[in-house]
Symmetry: C2
Amino acid sequence: MACELCDNDGGALIWRDARCRAVHVAEPGYPGYCRVIWNAHVAEMTALGAGDRDHCMRVVFALETALRERLHPDKVNLASLGNVTPHLHWHVIPRFRDDPHFPNPVWGRLLRQPAAVETPRADLIAHIASTLSGL
Amino acid sequence: MACELCDNDGGALIWRDARCRAVHVAEPGYPGYCRVIWNAHVAEMTALGAGDRDHCMRVVFALETALRERLHPDKVNLASLGNVTPHLHWHVIPRFRDDPHFPNPVWGRLLRQPAAVETPRADLIAHIASTLSGL
């Protein structure tokens, strides 16, 4: 069966290793929206062995750290949903009080019209890549 | 400042240890909806030390395992949002193709009217408690 995350990076590739990758997602109003995507087609975290699970979360938390260091969001949202694309991926979303949905989840009701998609800040992407390269 | 998750369990308590707790949430259409709530008032996963972070995720994944074993959901959704209540808590939500929002997130558009809240299955709660007691 065709899977979007088997066939594509799923965003602008920032970093990858043998097990997973981090991408930046062009989402209007969310300049720091990233995802961690497991490379193999697996649906659930508990379908991974303990070592793989730990590695995946280490990448998610390193990404959260890098985003917090550069963007200082009011909150970070982490989510592994996959109802539409059941290929393991984590949304790592810096949230701000004036972003399009805050305090709703980004999947909830839109409260403010987002500006056009901005080009991601090169310094942010470089900082994420540098943080993850230490893993 | 008053915090709902400092002042209350945040659901029907299933299990707790010195660091966190697991609760069942009465959510119409979602009989297996649980949360893992960190006991101390901390907003982000990366505000925890590495050991606490690992412990928190071990509880989340043990809960996911217990829910999968008993309910066999089509997907599990995991999320740490906290925009409204910035006290670390994980939503652990078994999802089914015929649930009220599937394939939308539970915070997205409602697609089917949920039935009334059901009393949680005693065997499910006992199975979760037994799984978590091994941690």
